[in-house]
């Protein structure tokens, strides 16, 4: 085929085009996503208000039970009061824990899911990507803006939760490394929220429709969380092995150490079987003893059994937090880069 007219071969006198400033692109991102951000902010504010009210009630109860002046907590005068307090407040705190667990994906999917997918679904990418700024800067501007916003919001909620839950940790109810609360404190909560956002954006670019992208993001994020909690987190550092009474100062709770496995060794040196343990326990109950950890421990010891357990010490909290926050941040950056690549190369 031949050209229609004479091709012009002279090079264009092209002065380098000054790009559209990031500030303007960020404003567009804010203008188009402020509703989603407002929704996320309302959700986070509601959760914070709930924790504030409930946390203040919890503290006034601690005072009125006299638990704030009780040292050590294992003193018998304290333990009755502590039991009453725990009965009254622990289950309520677990509801807060349950709600907070799903907050990262709610916020991430709400803000991140529609970010790219809505433009692809409605065809407006043909408008936005053909403007002078180009699609790469358009995408990076809103990606960074919204990522910072959701991460900051999550960090604030996480701080609030740390304050709220502090009495439970003080009373030794949970280890700071306990799976249900570990990723609600420190940097992990912000990390999981950022990852939820990045997964949602990436799913949107891949699936190109808002609702299916959100559903996929929820599935992927939940799968990742379950994998980490059950199979990955306890391998961040090699666990220690202990013997004797676990968390001797824990009172009625789980105590500060995160216990992974435990087993009994017979007087002969071989591991005790389940049936052996069961029969020993029933002997204790027939003898009229209360099966508190201390009583069980003492009873078994009298029979010549020794308890062994593997655990992660509570002192590893911050190194675990940094490990988890670090790889979640790396994963999010990777997903963001993958989204930019997809948008650049895989359009219409």
């Amino acid at each position: 085929m031949t050209p229609m007219t004479i091709p012009a071969h002279e090079a264009p006198a092209a002065p380098a085009v000054r790009p559209v400033p990031w500030r303007k692109l960020a404003w567009v991102g804010w203008r188009q996503h402020r509703l989603a951000l407002a929704g996320a902010a309302a959700l986070l504010t509601g959760v914070c208000a709930w924790m504030l009210i409930s946390g203040l009630q919890m503290r006034s109860a601690l005072n009125s039970f006299g638990l704030t002046s009780c040292t050590p907590l294992t003193a018998s005068s304290c333990s009755t009061q502590e039991t009453v307090f725990i009965n009254d407040y622990y289950s309520g705190a677990q509801v807060v824990v349950g709600v907070l667990t799903v907050i990262p994906i709610l916020v991430g999917a709400l803000v991140g899911g529609p970010m790219v997918a809505r433009e692809l679904e409605t065809g407006t990418f043909r408008l936005s990507w053909t403007q002078g700024s180009g699609r790469t800067r358009w995408l990076i501007a809103r990606l960074v803006l919204l990522a910072v916003a959701v991460t900051a919001g999550a960090a604030a909620v996480s701080l609030m939760f740390s304050w709220y839950y502090h009495p439970m940790l003080q009373l030794g109810q949970d280890s700071p490394l306990a799976p249900q609360i570990f990723d609600l404190r420190g940097v992990a909560f912000a990390g999981w929220t950022l990852a939820a956002f990045a997964i949602s954006v990436c799913a949107g670019a891949l699936i190109r429709r808002v609702i299916p992208a959100i559903v996929a993001a929820i599935a992927v994020w939940s799968g990742l969380l379950v994998t980490v909690v059950f199979w990955l987190r306890n391998h961040y550092q090699a666990p220690l092995t202990g013997t004797g009474l676990i968390n001797p100062t824990a009172g009625t709770g789980q105590g500060a150490q995160w216990v992974l496995t435990q087993w009994w060794i017979q007087p002969g040196g071989a591991p005790a079987s389940q049936s052996e343990i069961a029969s020993l326990s029933s002997q204790l109950r027939q003898a009229g003893g209360l099966p508190t950890p201390q009583a069980v421990q003492q009873w078994f010891a009298e029979q010549g059994y020794i308890k062994y357990f593997t655990y992660q010490p509570a002192g590893r909290f911050w190194s675990f937090q940094l490990i988890e926050g670090g790889w979640l941040l790396a994963l999010s950056v990777l997903l963001g880069a993958a989204t930019v690549w997809m948008i650049r190369h895989r359009a219409t």
């Binding site: 031949t2 050209p3 229609m4 007219t5 203008r31 403007q131 002078g132 700024s133 359009a347 219409t348």
Partner: protein
């Protein structure tokens, strides 16, 4: 300077070629009509020119050598996509602000003046506007960027006849005032005849007809005469298309010889753009592409 230049341009989706072997050179200041059946590759060609998609093979450049989709190209190419996509939840004023913020150059007074002329208030929600008003807003956004090349994909589809006239009037005014080049695809042949000085006809992803409208019309004529002798006449000259209506035949021919003797009952008349395009649309195997020497002439 060639406002559009493509070499061996092709785009494949999975196994089908939406466009192939497309070689074009359109001089600046042209108004190009892009026609063809649905699925002939018009939108693919336009998407390649504005950089929304990347070519599978070959290359496309605009504005005299800027690769399609490069920052310099994006900066000076205005595009109104099919069905004029807009953010339905925004007001007209917010739409202006959003698009202004996505561009280096922006002519707010021009946009506001045009919207005032059209009677579109700035506080109206886009979703409350008619299809025609949305198309006008999309054109306003594209023109306020003061582009050097304006690409319009089926801009007339959503408009009634009067709105079509107004829309094209705006485009042509901008073209003549700013020296703007325009490429528009459309099925409304009558409207194209009024404005276009270049024609590109695509068929099944390939160029079938390309050239200056005036040159093409000079080379084409319609012979009308009795249907009985049409076949005999057609055998002597390669016709583009023969249309018969009862006993009257119209033969579209493309030939250099425009003065030769015709059989009894036949006469010659110039072809209209519409008749020529329709003739080629019905005969996808016949093409009219300029020869090298013709181009140079």
């Amino acid at each position: 300077m060639n406002i559009i230049e493509t070499h061996g341009l092709g785009k494949r989706y999975r196994r089908t070629w939406a466009l192939r072997d497309c070689a074009l050179a359109v001089p600046a200041g042209s108004v190009v009509a892009l026609v063809g059946h649905n699925g002939a590759g018009k939108t693919t060609l336009l998407n390649l020119l504005v950089g929304l998609i990347e070519p599978t093979e070959g290359s496309a450049s605009v504005l005299g050598g800027e690769p399609a989709g490069s920052p310099a190209a994006l900066d000076a190419v205005g595009y109104v996509a099919q069905e004029a996509p807009l953010y339905q939840n925004l007001t007209v004023g917010d739409t202006l602000r959003v698009i202004a913020s996505l561009n280096r150059r922006w002519d707010q007074p021009r946009a506001e003046a045009r919207l005032a002329e059209l009677g579109i208030p700035l506080n109206r929600r886009v979703r409350r506007m008619s299809g025609g008003q949305q198309a006008q807003l999309a054109l306003t956004l594209a023109l306020a960027r003061r582009p050097k090349l304006l690409v319009l994909d089926e801009p007339l589809a959503m408009l009634d006849p009067l709105a079509r006239f107004d829309f094209m009037d705006t485009v042509m005014t901008a073209a003549s005032q700013d020296g703007l080049s325009v490429v528009l695809s459309s099925h409304v042949l009558a409207e194209l005849e009024r404005v276009a000085d270049h024609l590109i006809l695509l068929s099944r992803g390939r160029l079938q007809v390309a050239g200056k409208v005036r040159n093409l019309l000079d080379r084409h004529q319609v012979l009308t005469g009795p249907a009985i002798t049409a076949a005999k006449l057609a055998a002597q000259l390669p016709p583009v298309h023969i249309a018969t209506d009862d006993d009257l035949a119209r033969i579209l021919v493309s030939s250099g010889d425009q003065t030769g003797e015709l059989p009894e009952g036949w006469r010659r008349e110039p072809a209209s753009l519409e008749e020529m395009v329709l003739g080629y649309l019905r005969e996808p195997s016949v093409s009219a592409l300029p020869e090298a020497e013709e181009v140079l002439a």
